[in-house]
Symmetry: C2
Subunit: 319 residues, 2 copies
């Protein structure tokens, strides 16, 4: 039995007699043989691993459940294709350098880029390196050279604001997300789509982060600027939980005095009181599609159309 035959069996078994195939398979089971991955990588120049790169400072990562849903969904989708996920953090400058060195070392076959900000140098470097890359969310400033998968942020925001208006609310305000991220920009655009000419500058406060605390701060400021507001669309559930805290502290009833709408339909939406009306983002699907796009790119397929997945309004007690 030659090495070549064994290798053929292990890689799909074309041009192998049934006798040889059975013999090899039996031997594999008996000896518990597992191919050495480094040797295989060296010979094929494919590592079987994909990097999942988080460009985000500590606080958000600790807090935001969205990342974890995405992380899990990507891990699973990769595992189904016998690929493994390597988790890389690129929050600080030092980490950033390490990630770049790592990618250049061709440890991985591709890269999933999560939560990028406008001007993030990693996006530019990634697109320049020639390594297959797929971003979660529209990569601001690199829409044309980096493939991406995103939820329909703008459409979802529009649906939410329309819902608030349909509930009879007169003064619909918004706590927007950070404006250097695609989610922040798009969801605010959706708000303006509906509010249109009636929009006033004071009705909008952009939070300085996607966190609970940032949502609380932004809501407090919004209450100062617009004391008679009766509805607020908050650009994420986590920020909305902070907004609820600010409203409670100000003595406003939800939804009696103020209707609150969130975004994401993450688990915090049902853990707060009252449960949040929100916009469901199909994050599990986003993860799967990211993996699909990445594998297509690794295989050399040339599709560049970014994927945009539909969102869905989920009505609960807060509006």
């Amino acid at each position: 039995m030659s090495r070549g035959t064994v290798s053929r069996v292990l890689n799909g078994g074309r041009y192998v007699s049934t006798a040889a195939l059975a013999a090899v398979q039996r031997a594999v089971v008996e000896t518990g043989y597992v191919a050495n991955s480094s040797a295989r990588s060296l010979a094929t120049s494919r590592s079987g691993a994909v990097a999942f790169v988080l460009t985000e400072p500590q606080e958000r990562l600790f807090e935001d459940p969205n990342f974890h849903v995405l992380l899990r969904s990507c891990t699973q989708a990769l595992a189904e294709r016998d690929l493994v996920l390597m988790l890389l953090l690129a929050g600080s400058a030092a980490e950033h350098q390490r990630v770049l060195r790592f990618l250049r070392g061709r440890h991985v076959d591709g890269m999933l880029l999560v939560s990028t900000h406008l001007g993030d140098p990693l996006v530019a470097e990634a697109s320049r390196s020639g390594l297959p890359v797929v971003a979660a969310g529209r990569p601001l400033g690199h829409e044309h050279d980096v493939r991406s998968v995103a939820a329909d942020d703008r459409g979802g925001a529009r649906a939410m604001v329309e819902h608030l208006v349909a509930r009879g609310r007169r003064r619909v305000t918004t706590v927007a997300g950070p404006q250097d991220t695609s989610g922040g920009v798009e969801r605010l655009a959706g708000y303006f789509d509906v509010v249109g000419r009636r929009a006033r500058a004071v009705d909008v406060v952009a939070a300085d982060g996607w966190t609970h605390a940032a949502g609380e701060r932004a809501m407090a400021r919004l209450l100062e600027q617009v004391p008679d507001l009766d509805a607020v669309f908050v650009a994420s559930d986590l920020m909305a939980s902070g907004a609820l805290a600010a409203l409670r502290r100000a003595g406003r009833e939800v939804p009696g005095d103020v209707a609150v709408g969130g975004f994401d339909d993450s688990r915090v939406a049902v853990q707060v009181d009252p449960p949040l009306t929100t916009v469901r983002q199909p994050l599990v699907e986003v993860g799967r599609r990211m993996v699909d796009l990445l594998l297509a790119q690794i295989a050399g397929e040339a599709e560049v159309e970014p994927a945009v997945l539909p969102t869905e309004l989920v009505v609960r007690a807060s509006t």
Copy 2:
């Protein structure tokens, strides 16, 4: 300039002249050379990667912030030593098989085992395989053959129950965690340490999961069994947030009617209303120590003493 010299420079530079060293370093910078990791792995039979294995069904992973703190801390600690973390899920039987095959293929130099249950076959396999392994939390049934790092669950629980008693509460009950996990068992033991002879069977309800929903269910049952309870120690913050919901639904004021103590000091502790008195688990430190122990084991050091890290009572408004 020979390959040998270059290799020597790249690996610490013993027995290299300063001239050669400078020349190689310059060349590396100029050409942007990065060593190929598969080739290096093949030659050294070290992969530079460590597996982070989650043995847990979907729901908990989505919910519990503890995992993410641990995940991040391990990722960071590994990165500082130029190692990379591979995330593996072993929730279902199929995933389980894949993980085993993966480990046997020597893709990784070691394994961090998180959230194991009593009777988990992965623990047995891991300890048998000879691959360096460190578990988070005492690995029930394998305390002597698998190294571990854990917080002082029992001591922390004791401090919390003592605190409730010191607050003048007469009927201190507990929502315990699942009894097939070390956290569940140890924290309940800490409760009994304080309550001692006065303990009654009806005062204890073990939840069937570590989730918000499980905490809510368990609390509802506890209220049925002990209508006059005036304090409850809940074995995790996430479950405590569920317990708060159940108490609110039953019309009980917190902390007026019922004092509620949690465990973990995760971010949910400060996001619920009222903020939870809880027990801080040094999870970041746990992650670092796990990595330390694992690297020591990989290096062949023989220490087997499991690490137990101190906890700390954090008093907030719920008690």
